[in-house]
Symmetry: C2
Subunit: 436 residues, 2 copies
Amino acid sequence: MKDAIRVGLIGFGTVGKGLAKTLLSQHERLTQKVGVPIILSRVADIACTSLPDEYRDVVLSNDAGDIFTDPAIDIVVELIGGIEPARTFLLTAIEHGKHVITANKALLSTHGKEIFEAAAARNVEVGFEASVGGGIPVIKALKEGLAANRIESIRGIMNGTANFILTQMTQHGTPFEEVLAEAQRLGFAEADPTYDVEGIDTAHKLAILMSIAYGKHVHLDDVAIEGISSIKPIDIDFAREFGYCIKLLAISRNHGDHVEARVHPTMVPTDHLLANINGSFNAIQFTGDTVGDVLFYGHGAGMMPTGSAVAADVVDIGRNILAGAINRVPALSYLPQHFSRPTITPMGELTCPFYFRVTALDQPGVLSAVSGILGRHNISIKSVIQKGQQPGEPVHVVLQLHEAREEDVTRALAEIDALDACPEPTVKIRVLIDEH
Amino acid sequence: MKDAIRVGLIGFGTVGKGLAKTLLSQHERLTQKVGVPIILSRVADIACTSLPDEYRDVVLSNDAGDIFTDPAIDIVVELIGGIEPARTFLLTAIEHGKHVITANKALLSTHGKEIFEAAAARNVEVGFEASVGGGIPVIKALKEGLAANRIESIRGIMNGTANFILTQMTQHGTPFEEVLAEAQRLGFAEADPTYDVEGIDTAHKLAILMSIAYGKHVHLDDVAIEGISSIKPIDIDFAREFGYCIKLLAISRNHGDHVEARVHPTMVPTDHLLANINGSFNAIQFTGDTVGDVLFYGHGAGMMPTGSAVAADVVDIGRNILAGAINRVPALSYLPQHFSRPTITPMGELTCPFYFRVTALDQPGVLSAVSGILGRHNISIKSVIQKGQQPGEPVHVVLQLHEAREEDVTRALAEIDALDACPEPTVKIRVLIDEH
């Protein structure tokens, strides 16, 4: 029997430090659960010149190669993020027969197939619990806890920064730009917030969850993405009037021969649990044909929550090493031979209810023109509110539309925005359908 | 390599049928995940004379003994509920070297130690995911996903019937007795609803979660229990006025050398996620020192959700059988040699804020007497509302109290209820402290 599980960590940034702290503070607890100690043996970081005192037994290096070639290391944890050199590090570690753990959603949603195939060929494990939902054990829940389910849908708030911004906008009526600047000042948003606010980070995570849920290699490029930077406080106010909250959701519905894959601002009924997830928290809801609706909630990012998830992967893989049960659970839930490419529902074929905010000059006939266009595109109106601005300024014509085809909506919008009476582009927000 | 995992099921009631249906409908999916088919080989049910057509390959018997002695059976699933003969069946199955799965929280919270020790001695597995939270994979999440956490607290809505009743009372102002009768008519509540509405079922589940969370054998008798049958619509109205919802919560806080274990109606701030769990849904929140707050939500009971959880256990144990990795994860999270008896915080030493509704004759000096008693017991008042009834009838004096010691509260209540001016016992409801 092995006397310990030895971990090599690449990247001693925030998340790397979180893992190191966790393995240290939970050392005795984990030994009592696993049976042997879990030891952080090596850290490689390109910029780090010394480790804090409590890590005096850990060997520091500026070269990740020192970890791959150390025969004592069982598991290599990559926490540097980005595509390269992370991809090369993971593939090299696998090549050396090391089990690997990563929190790198950008990498897995673009080069996941390559990494999982390399790991399967070398019969090593890939742990990636921390790549989605931070500290929430959502990947384990989906792969194992919900194994006996056809996953019918995925819906989630998967980016804490975007949710923090929308929550602030909703609670205080502050414009997007101001909240973002404040979030950057507080360290809740990065200097370049594009991935977070434009939905790309959320799309990374959706691609990973869809792959596991459906047994299909879903790529970032499969996901239709819209961010929250064009959401205005006025839209949040109208949403509230209609009984909705605006959230950046990842949504996938399983239609059997095709699956939806989309990230966009969404009107969520205020009594829906997802409408009540505030601040930087994440929540991911699955609907399974056996279990019905389940939802998992927690911190989607941060040093310690992410450390908790990575440490859980270390424990999981460590137990498989000790039991001689490598790849006891297939990395992507289904065995590799049952994996295939997905067919993604074209966005034009999507149907859902819509919210439109048309900005129009305050002159007769506008509503008639707009409703005429909608009618010609088979889009029926559920309700209309027209709200005046200052005299002489354009008015907001706000429409709730019944379920309509995205393609029809896009054509209708082009015609509406071409009207002389419409000086600004119409704002369109999709409305959540909750069948359950 | 084994060509299949074979399951014997004892009890073909609602939950047993749910498992059978699940294994049938998910047959191909599970084979694609596990690598070999999972086959329901035998069913034993004392009353069942024939199985539906789709189970034509399943051998039916009225004698559970036929399952224990069939050498082809790998896993015995007990879904009859109650203490006996369930306990004897599980112990006999273990004696025969079978892995066992049960959803029986009443049994595990009273005879769990005996069953887990027997299983450890015989080196077989005990799966019990369905015993808490129905279809929510909460036990796996706690044992594995949150392995690297000191669990600081557990808070949950763990009984769907009680939550359904409280939700109806809250939304429609209907008295407890009427909602219960309606729930019984609809089949949401049992003919004898004691376990559900008096908090006993919730206490079973809390004892199981605490055992895993803390590595201590917690017994049903360790849990202080109060049910919801004395909650009146008027208390729900007052709660709303103060910004609270009344929920039946299981609560445990970890004080290191002692742990709280209690089930009682609780005032939950309306913006807390637990206040937004409605109808028959369950939600369980853990606070971990590494991960912070996480919450798991879903159907806490029902044929198919429970089937989903039991099937997940079958998959888990099946994978361990195939990998030769029995008891890869200790049944109760910590290895048996690290298990001990817990020290439970005496209820008298509990401190939390309280709500009091004093029913008093409408005469001068009552409020002064009540506040005098509270003051003498070191209980300070946060707010008072006095609401009149019809002229000549008693009034409600409603007090929000700051955090106070349960022991002091009990003594103060005895004095208040002994006042001549108080014709009815005072209603006391504890208020949730959410440190996080």
